[in-house]
Amino acid sequence: MFEVKNISMIYDMDTDEKMYALKGFDLTLPDKGLIGIIGPSGSGKSTLMYCLSTLKKPTEGTVCYNGTELTTITDSEREKIRRKEFGFVFQKHYLVPYMNALDNVLVAAADQSEETKKRAKEFLAGLGLGERELSKRPAKLSGGQCQRAAIARAMINNPKVVFADEPTASLDHENAFNVMRILKSYSADRLVLVVTHDRSILNEADRIIEIWDGEISRRETE
């Protein structure tokens, strides 16, 4: 699905002291499975995820997604791919504060049909948010409930790839494992990339990629 070649990301390009977030490596990712990208803070793992998901453009190298070279396409094409094919779970949930849980999921949906609404409710129910929580705004939901709503938002369009950046960072242990169980279940026929520095949540990962100082230091496969 993803073919990454010689990818580099340099911050502060204009200064003498260039900062390499990614230092020219190759990577191939499959069509499905739960892939963990692990590494300490500042290692470049989030940058890699952002480059794969078109949110960032690498300084050098290519990122090929299903035969499409993501680094050369237009902004509009990138937006289309993000909207149609990718789903995002960020470190913070970024739910829209004035919308209820259901509307927060639907805001990312491809349409607002009754069928989509039904699917959104099913998603949220499957993630443990009951009928009462659907009409609550983020301020009235717990951190775990918010993150689960954010996961439902990421999955509402049945994306081919879900990018999850520290999805459990703001959750307690129990909620963290619940979230990971959901992502694992979704990865049965889709690709889920989880960026984290917490190895314990990647117990069920199909593959773990360890990044250190912008380079892949270890590739583990279960």
Partner: protein
């Protein structure tokens, strides 16, 4: 893929913020409209007196020196009195002029919200008054016709403005005698008429009863060799129209424009400050939208639709506030004081709506800056 960024969701879920903005817009609109309507009451009230009345009744008073120098046909070498009589005859022979009669006049002040208009009305012999009323299309609506000296008929609206009633005595400014109000009349031009005290047909004024097409006395007098000087007085359709347009309509419109500009300036500044804070509070939301694949154009579209919804609601609420308030003013202040007003000024509504759209245009500046500055969430998390 269809955009699901609905403007309605923000409006529906942020009633407090939205209501504040809608109320602000509505009150600004209503304030401008109500002030406009009140000030325009002067324009509307003076209109029958300044534009309609002189079409059928004009006055002129010529000084002795003007008549001395005038070459009135048929009385070129006559005295001033002979020239005046010859001029009256010539005028009466003119098509469209029914009569030119030397009359005394009395004046009354007609007060509007802003300004006072001093109006003249003629004093005829009692027997001539029915003909006068026929000429000006006035009907006696209450009371009786003047029969004795010093009795007057007053237009219904003027009577209200004078805060008087039938049977009251009226003391004109400089006549030196009181007149009794014996009846009310109703006409388009708000005429008044009465009988003099003691002397008839000996006034310095000439009252010209004419039709609408022959109410330009200055031109008519010029045709008969009269060159007007500073001491002469002409009160005809042209002088009244000029006064009305320059000293009434333009003046009041300029005042209204100045008030509108001040209100709109403060509204614009307030809206700009409120909107910048509104945008700042929603940066994360906009970043989320672009991150999950919405284009900046779609986000801009949503923001514009929200603003339009707020502006249109403000406008509608403003109209719905302004009209009843204007109606209350009309029923409690304007009508009882014999003033005339209009409730609906579609042109002013459009103009104010246009000014609000201009403010919406100014708001595009922070909006576009915000759109340009929208980042994806990766930048927020960096």
């Amino acid at each position: 893929m269809k955009s699901n960024l609905s403007a309605w969701k923000y409006v529906k879920n942020n009633r407090k913020n939205v209501t504040t903005m809608v109320v602000g817009l509505a009150l600004s609109f209503a304030a401008i409209y109500i002030v406009h309507m009140l000030l325009m009451t002067s324009v509307e009230s003076f209109k029958p007196l300044a534009l309609t009345q002189p079409k059928k009744m004009c006055f002129f008073a010529l000084s002795r020196s003007t008549l001395d120098q005038a070459a009135v046909p048929g009385a070129e070498d006559g005295t001033a009195e002979e020239k005046r009589d010859a001029l009256v005859k010539l005028l009466e022979q003119t098509d469209g002029i029914d009569s030119v009669i030397r009359t005394q006049i009395i004046r009354t002040d007609y007060r509007a919200v802003i300004g006072t208009l001093s109006m003249k009305f003629p004093l005829y012999e009692a027997k001539d008054i029915p003909a006068f009323l026929r000429h000006v299309d006035a009907k006696l609506t209450d009371g009786r016709m003047p029969e004795e000296d010093g009795e007057i008929l007053v237009d219904e609206v003027i009577l209200k403005n004078m805060n008087a009633k039938i049977g009251d005595w009226y003391l004109p400014d400089w006549y030196g005698e009181v007149f009794k109000i014996v009846g009310t009349i109703k006409s388009e031009g708000m005429y008044c008429v009465g009988t003099p005290k003691g002397f008839v047909n000996n006034g310095w004024y000439n009252t010209v009863l004419c039709d609408g097409e022959h109410s330009d006395l200055e031109s008519l007098l010029a045709q008969y060799g009269i060159k007007l000087g500073a001491e002469d007085e002409i009160d005809d359709a042209v002088t009244n129209r000029t006064f009305y347009q320059r000293d009434c309509v333009e003046l009041i419109e300029n005042v209204v424009k100045a008030i509108s500009a001040i209100v709109m300036f403060f509204l614009g500044v307030t809206m700009l400050i409120a909107y910048v804070s509104f945008l700042r509070n929603r940066v994360n939301e906009y970043c989320l939208y672009t991150s999950i694949g919405y284009s900046r154009f779609e986000v801009y579209g949503m923001m514009m639709r929200e603003m339009l919804l707020i502006f249109v609601s403000g406008l509608v609420a403003g109209i719905l506030t302004a009209i009843p308030v204007c109606l209350i003013f009309r029923l409690t202040i304007i009508d009882p004081r014999g003033m005339i007003c209009r409730l609906l000024y579609p042109d002013k509504m459009l103009q104010t709506a246009g000014l609000m759209l201009f403010i919406l245009g100014i708001i595009q500046i922070p909006l576009l800056l915000c759109i340009r500055g929208i980042k994806t969430i990766d930048r927020l998390e960096d």
